[in-house]
């Protein structure tokens, strides 16, 4: 059987360490989030009508410039890369911060940049990207959170009204529904894939008449999902046909990679929290962390986090460098870090004992975010299956050895 390209491609492994600039960025973001996203506050917010912290998001997105990391400087962004964006994601994962960083600064931004290219021809596109980059506008992609990059974009929204392809705002109208959108509740703009001739990607004002967002009771209260209905809502076409499909997939792929970084940060925080707890919790007149049954589980978790970090950094590096190995790297990172985060959060609950099972302790916030995150952008299983073809390991019943 011929060796697939993915087996020979990454002749040299890229730099997997954190640069000084990345460490500085991490410090800044961590200091903001440790002050403004305390576990008790995050927990309290999940039971309010405002599940997203828009003030914190403004501080992170606009004041600190994190919304524009992926946007080229010419379009008003920081001109940074997925390496830096991943560091911010690690930090939002550590604090389970209720901010739409992943949905707006990563997914929606990546969709727009993929749809328009680095030098958008349309003034409206440039303005939209610039407003995302400076944090004045928040956007979300209107597809279900579980959508995987290798899947077909959903067709639950139709183009109605004026003919598609006309640039004038309001010339197209969209009608339909989409379920389980992430980070769409605080969004100002929705990027909606819609069926028509041709299939297209449209920008919709989230505050326009005919747009209804209904909060969905979500497993993860720190990233509340919503269901969307559109009733003849004015829309502006961003891309059409294969370009629209490619843009949506690029966004989902970027989302999967940066969510893997978020899962890494989450897993690392669960490990730290648990280690700190078992050092001070005493039973049988000794710290429970002195029992091997506990120590060995935490040692294994440490090992898992070291591996997850390598997977996550590699995916970020591949996206940053435009590596042809990116699809393999993203599938590996999303599957590995997804499983790792769930395990870390489960261990966190277990090794905290009774207190870890209470509503007041933040362990459950991590567990719920980890479990939801492992489903988002495709389950670990789905990503492994997607990778199978790329690395020449086809499934059962796929015939010959060729």
């Amino acid at each position: 059987m011929e060796r697939p390209a993915a087996l020979t491609e990454p002749a040299e492994i890229p730099d997997l360490l954190y640069s000084q600039a990345e460490n500085d960025l991490r410090q800044a973001v961590r200091s903001l989030l440790s002050e403004r996203a305390q576990p008790s506050a995050v927990l309290a917010r999940t039971e309010t009508d405002e599940p997203y912290d828009t003030q914190l998001w403004r501080a992170l997105a606009a004041d600190m410039g994190c919304a524009g990391l992926l946007v080229p400087e010419a379009l008003g962004g920081a001109g940074a890369s997925y390496r830096e964006a991943a560091v911010v994601a690690e930090e939002t994962g550590r604090s389970v911060a209720p901010v739409p960083y992943l949905g707006s600064a990563v997914v929606a931004t990546a969709v727009l940049l993929a749809a328009t290219g680095p030098e958008p021809g349309k003034e409206a596109d440039r303005k939209l990207i610039a407003s995302l980059a400076d944090g004045t506008v928040t956007a979300a992609l209107a597809v279900a959170f579980e959508s995987a990059p290798d899947g077909d974009p959903p067709l639950s929204v139709r183009v109605t009204g004026s003919a598609p392809g006309d640039d004038a705002a309001g010339s197209a109208r969209l009608t339909g529904a989409a379920a389980r959108l992430a980070d769409a509740l605080p969004a100002d703009v929705l990027l909606v894939p819609a069926d028509g001739v041709p299939y297209g990607l449209y920008a919709v004002d989230a505050h326009a008449a005919g747009v209804t967002r209904t909060p969905a009771v979500s497993l993860d209260g720190t990233r509340q999902l919503c269901d969307l209905t559109l009733d003849a809502v004015p829309a502006r076409q961003i891309a059409a046909g294969p370009a629209a499909v490619a843009a949506v997939r690029a966004g989902l792929s970027a989302g999967a990679a940066m969510l893997a970084a978020e899962q890494l940060g989450l897993a690392e925080r669960c490990l730290e929290m648990t280690v700190a707890y078992v050092k001070q919790r005493r039973q049988f007149a000794r710290p429970v962390g002195s029992f091997q049954a506990v120590k060995h589980r935490l040692a294994d978790l440490f090992v898992l986090v070291t591996q997850a970090r390598a997977a996550s950094r590699y995916a970020a590096a591949c996206l940053a460098d435009g590596s042809p190995d990116a699809p393999v790297a993203v599938a590996m990172a999303k599957s590995y870090c997804g499983d790792a985060a769930v395990r870390a959060a489960e261990e966190c609950v277990q090794l905290h004992g009774g207190i870890g099972f209470t509503w007041e302790h933040p362990a459950h916030l991590y567990l719920k975010r980890a479990k939801s995150g492992s489903i988002a952008f495709g389950t670990p299983d789905r990503h492994r299956a997607a990778m199978a073809g790329l690395v020449g390991l086809p499934g059962a019943g796929t015939g010959t050895s060729a």
Partner: protein, 416 residues
């Protein structure tokens, strides 16, 4: 081979030349010295041993060692430059696989703790392979608890007499010398009563017996010592300081395991992936998910190893190194187990139970059944995975140490 940056140079983190404030040789110096040596000793006509001795004397054996001891006080990273230049010229090498314990464990220990006289006497024949070294540490009663070992070394005039039983000794049947830890004082707590020696394996009172393992072959030996003599000049480090010396040896062992860089699908996963591709009739959905998980695990471990080396290269050795051997052992076991399952009916067979005495584990020259059985040893040899987890938990995560019931009690009074 050694891959870490741990100092074999006496002063931590500094090469000899750096410590002395002189200029360390660069790659061009190394290449010029190799060329000079090749000009003076044509590998095509020079007897192998003469060539290797000349290479040692030219400081091109291990360039990071001090001058006069086979090195140039150069950065360790330059060793591949010399190796490549010699290989390109078709020069003989010292068959490093055969003398791995000498190169990887004995030599760094001798360099760090040996006297100048010992270094002069032992390092050259060690490197050329004239004298194979083995390691006499573990005992039937002292595996993970190495410091509890019972082999006794008793003063006898100018030297020592050693009595006891050692086990898991690779190469003992070929070795001329051994690094040995023995108890010189049973009246003090266990760590304090040990001393470190070099034992002449040809001395009387040394008996080597093969130890057959679950694979059918005997990579290892048992070594029985009965009043075996050791001159005091062959003691390495102070009397009673054997534990500290042994720690240095073991640190080098764990650095040696975990390995260098491999390409994607290098290592144990290669056989599994090849079998998967070549034998579509063996595939099932359940095996498919295992195959993919193992492929990802192997690739992620490879990336983590690369990241670790990147950290070492910029002088930030992280605690991740402690994880490497745990990962490597589990991967080898999971992958080889998968291979046997994938083989189905053929997995009921075995390639060969003949008792052999290989120089080391031969993962790739044998069948899946051998790999499966041999890999069971990966989580036992060189520190069990349980001991390694203790090390990670205590030294990396800072969790409380084990409660020691043997602390402050003379070794002779410990319950056994």
């Amino acid at each position: 081979m050694l891959t870490g940056k741990e100092g074999l140079t006496g002063k931590e983190g500094l090469t000899e030349a750096e410590a002395a404030g002189t200029q360390a040789p660069g790659p061009d110096d190394i290449r010029r010295r190799v060329a000079d040596l090749l000009a003076a000793h044509d590998p095509a006509t020079t007897p192998r041993l003469d060539f290797l001795r000349a290479r040692f004397d030219a400081g091109l054996a291990w360039v990071h060692f001090p001058a006069g001891l086979g090195g140039l006080g150069a950065p360790r990273t330059l060793q591949p430059v010399a190796d490549a230049a010699f290989a390109a010229a078709g020069a003989p090498d010292n068959n490093p696989r055969r003398i791995g314990i000498g190169l990887g464990m004995a030599a760094p220990t001798i360099l760090a703790f040996g006297t100048p006289e010992q270094q002069q006497r032992w390092l050259r024949p060690l490197w050329t392979g004239e004298e194979v070294w083995c390691q006499l540490f573990s005992e039937p009663g002292a595996g993970s608890d190495l410091a509890g070992l019972a082999t006794r070394a008793v003063r006898d005039g100018d030297g020592w007499r050693v009595t006891g039983q050692k086990v898991w000794t690779s190469s003992a049947h070929e070795a001329r010398r051994a690094i040995l830890v023995a108890r010189t004082d049973p009246d003090v707590p266990k760590h304090a009563g040990l001393s470190y020696f070099a034992l002449d394996m040809t001395a009387h009172g040394v008996e080597v017996r093969p130890l057959r393992q679950i694979t059918g072959e005997a990579e290892f030996n048992e070594v029985f010592l009965t009043d075996a003599p050791i001159p005091d000049a062959d003691r390495i480090g102070a009397v009673g300081d054997g534990w500290r010396v042994a720690q240095a040896t073991l640190m080098n062992e764990r650095v040696a395991i975990g390995g260098g860089s491999l390409p994607r699908e290098g290592g144990m996963i290669a056989g599994a992936a090849a079998a998967w591709r070549d034998r579509p009739e063996l595939r099932t959905p359940g095996l498919h998910d295992r195959m993919l998980r193992l492929w990802v695990d192997a690739e992620v471990a490879r990336l983590a190893g690369a990241r670790l080396r990147q950290q070492l290269a910029v002088g930030q050795p992280g605690p991740e190194g402690s994880a490497a051997k745990i990962v490597f052992a589990r991967l080898n076991q999971d992958i080889s187990s998968f291979e046997v399952d994938l083989a189905g009916g053929e997995g009921l067979g075995y390639d060969d139970w003949t008792m052999r005495r290989p120089q080391s584990a031969n993962f790739y020259g044998r069948g899946p059944g051998y790999r499966y059985l041999r890999a069971r040893g990966n989580s036992i040899e060189g520190g069990t995975s349980e001991i390694l987890r203790n090390i990670v938990a205590e030294r990396v995560l800072g969790l409380p140490p084990e409660i020691r019931v043997d602390k402050d009690i003379p070794w002779k009074d410990l319950p056994r």
